[in-house]
Amino acid sequence: MQAFEWEKPVLELEARISELKQFVHSSDMDFTDEIKTLERKASKLRKEIYANLTPFQRVTMARHPKRPTTLEYINLLFDDFVEFHGDRSYRDDRAIVGGVALFEGQPVTVVGPQKGRDTKDNIARNFGLPHPEGYRKALRLMKQAEKFGRPIITLIDVVGAYPGIEAEERGQGLVIAQCIEEMSFLKTPILSIITGEGGSGGALALGVGDRILMLENAWYSVISPEMCATILWRDSSRAAEAAQLLRLTPTDLLKFGIIDDVITEPLGGAHRDHVTTGLQMRSFIRRYLATIVKKPLEVLLEERLARFRQIGKFNEKAMADL
């Protein structure tokens, strides 16, 4: 598995432990206490390292090639799933997947951007960068959920909507606006989870939920750190600094009241243990879905709109002038 630079101290310690174990195995000497001490040290070090990740280290975790993709999450979270294709207008955009799934016996509609697993898959899925038809498909499926009174779960992992010529010609901006607007008024409960990257309008287009959760190593912002660095310093390699400025981590967003909860990942990140990540997510989904499904629809819709209505920081001019 690909290791991050900041994990190296732990990995070295772990290597020493296993060497020592090998040595004990091939000799008569007893190193049990030493091994225990080292293991405790390794575990402590690991906790320290992962508790103190910089924002950009979290961004890189969110982009880890072995991190579960949306289809993998679907597999981990649901007991059954049928995928539906196409926007009924132009084509099937494989950069967004969706369909009906069973969550602990309850049918739900699930949609989300899909990154590729390997090069071939990535090409077919346009590296997880959706075209307008992808968002139109998502909207079609969400409206279908509304019709049949199914709750919606959106799983969000997208660096941004595709900035391409044809995407522009087919109304990328327009369709994002439509997704945001229509989702806001859908008469069915919506749970949104940012599982990896939450890049700008392309993420928000699927993120207008009644509850918004975020995995511990996910990010969500108005712009990617690379683009922000390019704008500020004409140098995308300074993304780490930009990530610091953008306040894009779950901790920040929870404090700002943008998201409702943070889903803890296994130590070292979701990519290290897909199954535990899935179980952890299931318990959050169970809890939050139950809360929103219980609410009368009028209350739910009113609260959904009120939630976004109050976001923003400004001062009345008269007060600022005092």
Binding site: G173, I180, V222, K313
Partner: protein, 281 residues
């Protein structure tokens, strides 16, 4: 491919128009047309709604000039002025705001209020590009929402002239992104009450402004040549490594691809919007 947005351009971007010969004139008397290169006497420009008399190029105008072209000063009651609060403490943002305030005389990028256009009462809003690229942060978002809410209360139509090349304002991070949701919802509520929203796209309307309230108008108009789109042309060029088609993301291009209702020149705008408002009264 994770870093699709990374990297500097590998080649120069060439402007479509040929660079016209520069002539030296006193700055404050004459303006050179960005499009045809002709020199225009400033007083004439002012008289002609900031259109080039020889090629019809639409010069960018301030929010105040725009308002003056559409409504009488005594007919415009602005909403309570708001000022930005630097929600994510972005370095340099507070200074950028005060600088922009000083340069433009505006509190933020939007000027919104109750107005009368050719006898029709409405909520009229203008976004001024000269204030941090006409980008939308908490103040612009809140002002727009208050405008739509006021319109809903008083059953009025809304007319917004968007000139937000900056889209969502980076310096307010997630708060700017959320203004997209907030404004789209305000349009939705207003629209679901059966009320009219005319969205006029002026140069340039991009990113988070185009991808929220601005493309949700019942009627979407644009000024000739206005840049309209989601991703900026440079980003598209860098990501796709393709040559951009002639006139890419211009109002004319958007019209051809079915994204807007009509292109309206500035000198016809007042009558055009006035007539639409009249028909929806």
């Amino acid at each position: 491919m994770l870093n699709v947005f990374k990297g500097k351009p590998k080649y120069m971007t060439v402007r479509p128009q040929e660079e016209p010969e520069r002539k030296e004139f006193p700055d404050n008397l004459w303006t050179r047309c960005d499009c045809c290169g002709k020199m225009i006497f400033n007083k004439e420009l002012d008289k002609e709604a900031f259109l080039c008399p020889s090629c019809g190029h639409h010069f960018r105008i301030t929010a105040r000039k725009r308002l003056a072209m559409l409504t009488e000063p005594e007919d415009f009651q602005a909403l309570t002025p708001l000022v930005s609060a630097d929600p994510i403490e972005f370095p340099g943002y507070a200074e950028k705001i005060s600088q922009a305030q000083e340069q433009t005389g505006l509190d933020d990028a939007s000027l919104i209020g109750k107005a009368v256009i050719q006898g029709s009462p409405c909520i009229l809003g203008v976004i001024d590009f000269s204030f941090i690229g006409g980008s939308m942060g908490s103040v612009v978002g809140e002002q727009l929402v208050r405008g739509f809410e006021r319109a809903l209360e008083e059953k009025l139509p809304v007319v917004i002239f968007s000139g937000g090349g900056g889209g969502a304002r980076m310096h307010e991070g997630i708060f700017s992104l959320m203004q997209m949701a907030k404004t789209a919802q305000a349009v939705g509520k207003h629209s679901r009450a059966g009320l009219l929203f005319i969205s006029v796209l002026t140069h340039p309307t991009m990113g988070g402004i185009y991808a929220s309230f601005a493309s949700l108008g019942d009627i979407i108009l644009a000024e000739p040549g206005a840049l309209v789109g989601f991703a900026g042309p440079r980003i598209v060029e860098e990501t796709t490594r393709q040559k951009l088609p002639q006139g890419f993301q211009t109002a004319e291009y958007a019209l051809e691809h079915g994204m807007i209702d009509a292109i309206v020149t500035r000198d016809r705008m007042l009558n055009y919007v006035g007539r639409l408002l009249e028909w929806h009264r």
